[in-house]
Every structure is written in C-alpha cells, then in structure tokens.
C-alpha cells in the first residue's frame, strides 16, 4: 500500500485508464445558456426551446453515477455558464460526496460572495475563469455587457479564498484591439494563465460562423509568441519526468488507425443535450452517442472504439511535422468528418513548430 501525491496519482490514473479503456475524466456541458452573450461563443444558445431540451439535475446525476461506476474520478463542469444551471448545487454536492475531483469553468460573474462561501465548504480542485476584456469597453464589445468590475472583484475573491485559479483567454477578432492588454491584465493576478489560440467551429444552432471571428494565422502566431513571453511554459525537470512517466517518454509513431490524445480513451464529454462525444466540441458526425438512451456503458464503448478506429488523414502520414503534431479532429472541424486537414490549422502548427525549433537553435 502506498500514499501518493496528487501529481503521481494523475499520472498513474491516466496511464492505467489508457491501458484499460477507463473513462476516468468526464467533461459535462451542463447548459448552453449563459449570463453573457459573447459574439464569438460557439455554444451559447438563446432559443427558449433549449430549456425544454436541457437535462435536469437528476438526469445529469444518473449519467454521472454510471460514469463513477465505470471509473470516473474527475470532472470538468462547464457550459454556457455552468453556475446558471438550476440544479448546479445538487450536481456539485453529489460529485463531492462521491469523491470525484471537480474543475469548474466559469465566466466569473456568479463567483460572488455567497457562491464562493458555498464552494469553499467543499472546494473544487480548480476553477478556470475566462477573461474577455481588460476594461469596461472591451468587455462591452466582446461580451455585450460591462461586467469588468464584477469579474475583477470575483477573481480576486477566489484567489484570496485560496482556490486554485487559472485564467483562460480566448482571443478572437472582437478582442483583437485589446488582446495584449487582456494578457497583461491576466498576468497581474499572479495565477496561471492559459491562452487558447485556435478557435473551434460554432454549434450550428448558435447562428454563428467561425469565419466571422477567426483570426489570421499571422495574428494567431503573434499572440502565441506574446503569450509565451508573458507566460513562459514551465517544463518538468528531466529526472522528475522520468520518475513519473518512466524512461520511455516518446509517444507512439503515427499509425494507420487511432488518435493519440485522451479523447475517447480516458476522457469523454456529455453536451447540454445529453450527447456523449470523445471530448467537448469533437465533430458529431464522426461519433455521437446518447447515454440516457443507450446506457452509459454502450455509449462509452462505442465512443472508445470510434477513436481507436479513426483514420488520421493520409496527408499526416507523409508530413514532416508528424512526430510533433498530433492530428486533432476538433481543431480540423468539418474537415475531420472526411479524414481531411484544414489547411489553415496545418499552416498554424507548422509555422509554430518552425518558430519553436528556431528558438531552440538560438
């Protein structure tokens, strides 16, 4: 018997789950509704009929219960704005009583005194707070509401409470005039910051088109370089890496079939309408199952098989970047249903890897 640290547990768990096809991590998009109206939001749906299709707390718990019985030990609760789900607390407290580690994703508006006090009774393992601006004007432009002061105050409250906070930034055409300032503002809080550079396709029903808010590759690369400057990536010391992962750290060579990431291998997502996917935003025409209809086990097994059988594009097999670049169906969006690449995504990664290599040489 041995007591292990949280980090060791994470590594062991993911290795064991990968080997045994255990769905150890679940991402739950509790609601597509939100108290903001960001112009680039891929999920936020407004149609009032959505409310009728949304899962109740009891339905969420029945899926989660089966997931726990199949080995789920950690979840991400997201949305829309997860905290607006009418049964949020029922779901949260159920998971805590089951010993499931919770990460919460929020835009920060509802992380007020009352909710933070309630959360601190059973603290989540972490909270990812999205930042959409660095002042009232940028918040108005991107999200349609001036909630800058509220979010700033709530971020500070969460940090002071001792929560493990990460700030998330998703640059888009709407944020463009302020992107660098938003990153600098995020840095001022002194907590980890994640800058997502690639945007994903919007839900069809959202009435939004990625093309309307996507950024040119040049700008994406500039943002990536700036974020690397502001938030230098921390690499694990070699000895620590070997101790945790063993000596063989090289990932498998590209093969005829199968994805290498955690999607559908150790991780799954359930969207607001009850659809199970290998990860959130994974293209539904590749695979999509309904655990409330088919049962969790059947849905998981089919998702797991689908990612193991997925054929990465032929182009990747001869691509000189294929030892560094992992084909991600979510990023390649609609192209991935036909096992193809989105040329723009390839260009972004190829140029990014060239830049990394050059940095190493310098």
């Amino acid at each position: 018997m041995k007591t292990i640290t949280h980090k060791e547990f994470g590594v062991l768990l993911s290795q064991n789950s990968y080997k045994n096809d255990i769905p150890s991590s679940g991402h739950f998009e509790l609601t597509p509704l939100c108290n903001l109206d960001c112009k680039m939001c891929y999920v936020h749906l407004q149609d009032s009929s959505v409310r009728k299709k949304m899962l109740t707390g009891k339905q969420w718990i029945s899926i989660m219960e089966e997931a726990v019985n199949h080995g789920m030990t950690g979840v991400l609760l997201t949305g829309g704005e997860a905290l607006t789900h009418p049964d949020f607390w029922m779901i949260y407290e159920y998971l805590i009583q089951k010993g499931v580690e919770i990460r919460l994703k929020s835009n920060g508006i509802l992380l007020n005194k009352e909710n933070v006090e309630r959360l601190s009774k059973y603290p989540p393992a972490g909270i990812d707070i999205s930042l959409y601006g660095c002042d009232s004007e940028s918040y108005m432009t991107v999200t349609g509401k001036d909630v800058y002061d509220i979010v700033s105050e709530n971020v500070k409250r969460c940090i002071d409470t001792g929560f493990n906070i990460r700030l998330m930034i998703t640059p888009s055409a709407y944020m463009m005039p302020w992107t660098d300032r938003v990153m600098e503002y995020a840095k001022s809080f002194g907590v980890p910051v994640v800058v997502n550079t690639l945007l994903i396709d919007a839900y069809e029903e959202s009435g939004r088109e990625k093309a309307d808010f996507d950024l040119p590759v040049e700008e994406l690369l500039r943002i990536r370089k700036k974020s690397n400057e502001l938030f230098p990536p921390k690499y694990m010391p070699k000895e620590e890496e070997e101790r945790l992962y063993g000596k063989v750290t090289k990932r498998p060579d590209i093969s005829e079939k199968g994805l290498y990431c955690s999607a559908g291998r150790t991780c799954f997502a359930v969207c607001w309408d009850g659809a199970m996917l290998p990860c959130l935003s994974f293209p539904r025409d590749i695979i999509c199952k309904y655990p409330l209809v088919d049962g969790f086990e059947t849905a998981w097994k089919q998702i797991n098989q689908a990612v193991k059988n997925y054929e990465v594009p032929k182009k990747c097999h001869s691509c000189e970047y294929n030892t560094k670049c992992h084909y991600c169906p979510t990023q390649h969006g609609k192209y991935s249903s036909n096992n193809q690449c989105d040329a723009k995504v390839c260009e972004f990664w190829q140029r990014l890897y060239d830049w990394h290599d050059k940095l190493k040489e310098d």
Partner: protein
C-alpha cells in the same frame, strides 16, 4: 480499529484508490493506492467487520491460512493508520 469517515474506495481495473470525500477534501491531500488484498480488507472494515473477521474472510476468498491472513490484516491496518485513513 475502524476506517475514518470521509473516504471512499474507488475500484477500477488495474487500480484501487482511497480518496477523500465531502469536507475531508479540504484537509486530506492525496490519495492512497491499495493492492487487491488491502482493498479487500478495507472493504471488510468498512462493512464493520473486526480484524479477525476480515482475516477469516481473506481465507475464504484467497488461498491463505488463517495465521498468514491475520498477519496480513495486522500489517495492512497499521498501514491504514499511518496513512491517516483509519483509527
């Protein structure tokens, strides 16, 4: 000798873990990894069985005599106490 409140045993293929739950997540950092035998003993203790009963159950489940089973239970219980999951 009993297992403390605020923990749950999670069993999955290849891995058995004792994890904190409820308010205990604030105070107990980390997880305890159990092998098959310790997980078996843990479950018996949670059911309210004594050490002797747990050892007897071990002999029924595994090919082991009562003396060895009792030694194993004693050793495992000492480990549980050291890890802070039993008292």
């Amino acid at each position: 000798m009993k297992i403390k409140e605020g923990f749950v045993l999670r069993k999955m293929p290849g891995m058995n873990m004792v994890m904190p739950i409820g308010e205990n997540i604030k105070t107990y950092k980390g997880s305890v990894m159990l092998n098959e035998t310790s997980a078996f003993i843990y479950e018996k203790l949670v059911e309210g069985k004594s050490k002797e009963e747990a050892a007897k159950a071990l002999t029924e489940e595994y090919d082991v005599d009562i003396e060895k089973a009792m030694q194993s239970v004693e050793r495992t219980c000492a480990d549980f106490i050291e890890a802070g999951i039993a008292e």
